[in-house]
């Protein structure tokens, strides 16, 4: 049997070309997409993009500032602001006019030109109507009556030259700005008569007072009105002076209203509805009251 000499195993002869090629080998450069900094940058960009997109999607419906219409300035508000500015200017001019009458003309001319530019109260002359009316000019947009003295006794307004052709801006302001309206009545029906509301002095036609203990219903700090509906017919205009009640006793909270003194005649046997309300529209309605002598409820 042949002997195997393992130590006779020799290394493989290396061709010279292999060695030469290896000597001239150059280090391989990784493709750019396999380099660490490239991978890191791409991963960072991807992560940031994903986070931003996620946040945008999550906060899409709940933006920090929602475009609600209440936040925008309404045209009427702008008109009121302009009106107030003009009023303030006019009042300032008026004070000057009171102190030095000799300077009235230049001041009024200067301010009247400014007033003509803003086109607020120059179209209506308060002196013609005698009393300031809240529905004149752009003042109609102001729910709170502006300073009447500033308008009625304003020398600027009276001396201001009337523009030959009215500017269109105030007309737009008049059309866009809603006319001031009293708030509609929020009526609460009073089903059962209570002794705090009473008629008195009933003889023949009703000429007595309607008394209201307003502390039970309304705030006495505001004007209290009384509106009467007699046999289905409304006897007065809401929020008019004719319906304003007189606070007879503020400590006890009593307000009175005499219909006859305002031209409202109620005969016995009539069925009336009485609505007591205040400036803010809070109202209490006493329904279907039969007017009889000594009516007390």
């Amino acid at each position: 049997m042949r002997k195997v000499n393992f130590n006779a195993l020799k290394n493989v002869a290396v061709p010279e070309s292999w060695v030469e090629k290896a000597l001239h080998a150059k280090p391989k450069k990784k493709p750019i997409f396999l380099r660490l900094y490239f991978i890191g940058t791409a991963a960072s960009v991807a992560v940031v993009t994903a986070v931003v997109l996620t946040l945008l999607i999550r906060s899409g419906g709940n933006s920090p500032i929602s475009p609600k219409t209440d936040l925008f300035i309404q045209p009427s508000t702008v008109a009121v602001m302009e009106n107030n500015e003009t009023t303030m200017d006019n009042s300032a001019t008026q004070e000057k006019a009171e102190t030095t009458s000799s300077e009235t003309v230049p001041f009024t001319q200067a301010v009247s030109s400014a007033a003509a530019e803003t086109a607020t109260s120059t179209e209506t002359d308060p002196s013609e109507t005698g009393i300031p009316h809240p529905t004149q000019g752009t003042q109609t947009t102001n729910p709170i009556p502006s300073n009447p003295t500033a308008v009625a006794t304003d020398p600027v307004v009276t001396t201001a030259p009337q523009p030959s052709q009215p500017v269109e801006e105030p007309a737009e302001a008049e059309t866009t700005a809603p006319t001031p309206q009293k708030p509609p009545l929020r009526i609460t029906d009073v089903e059962n008569l209570v002794p705090s509301v009473e008629f008195d002095d009933l003889e023949g036609d009703y000429d007595g007072n309607l008394s209201l203990f307003f502390y039970q219903y309304l705030d006495g700090s505001e004007s209290i009105y009384c509106h009467i509906i007699c046999n289905g017919t409304e006897c007065g205009e809401l929020y008019s002076d004719d319906e304003k009640m007189i606070v007879a006793d503020s400590e006890r909270g009593i307000a009175t209203y005499c219909p006859l003194s305002h031209g409202i005649s109620i005969s016995y046997g009539s069925r009336i509805d009485v609505i007591f309300y205040n400036e803010s529209g809070k109202a209490f309605r006493f329904r279907d009251i039969l007017v009889v002598p000594d009516l007390v409820f």
């Binding site: 393992f6 195993l9 290394n11």
Partner: protein, 160 residues
């Protein structure tokens, strides 16, 4: 400035360890063109990685390991059977005895052949072979014994 590998320049490393790397590649692939690819890739990897080595033994072990891995990767990519008949150029042998043993070695299974090569040709110890191949020394011992038996059965003689 050229990089040094355990105090040797790249050219010195290639000249010193080309036969070792080529032997490892040939033992595994048994094909000159494929072995050349792995041979070149091993040294290119040395250039690209430029690792630091403690000494020459460390460098040699690193080269052998990289060459083995390159051969594994090559086989994995190509998945084809290798045979001795595919050798285009047969290596030259000093004598008949040497030729026969080398021929018989080529007939042994590749994993056993690798261990036999490292043990008898590169003169590595069992522990060192275990370190290079990431195997248990006892496993290397068993494989070495079995490889010898295979070689004897192929060669048809007693081992020495």
């Amino acid at each position: 400035m050229a990089a040094l590998y355990a105090g040797m320049s790249y050219e010195e490393v290639v000249c010193a360890y080309s036969s070792t790397v080529a032997g490892v590649c040939m033992m595994r692939l048994q094909n000159y063109p494929d072995a050349e690819d792995c041979f070149q890739n091993t040294f290119v990897r040395l250039l690209t990685k430029s690792p630091s080595f403690n000494d020459e033994n460390h460098l040699k072990a690193w080269l052998i390991k990289v060459a083995i891995n390159e051969c594994y990767n090559f086989i994995k990519k190509n998945r084809r059977s290798l045979s001795l008949e595919d050798l285009p150029v047969e290596p030259s042998y000093q004598n008949d005895d040497e030729m026969d043993v080398s021929w018989a070695l080529m007939k042994v299974r590749p994993d056993y052949r690798e261990i036999l090569y490292l043990y008898y040709v590169e003169k590595y110890r069992v522990k060192e072979i275990a370190g290079i191949l990431d195997k248990n020394p006892n496993t290397i011992k068993v494989m070495l014994k079995r490889g010898r038996e295979m070689l004897k059965s192929i060669y048809g003689g007693d081992g020495r």
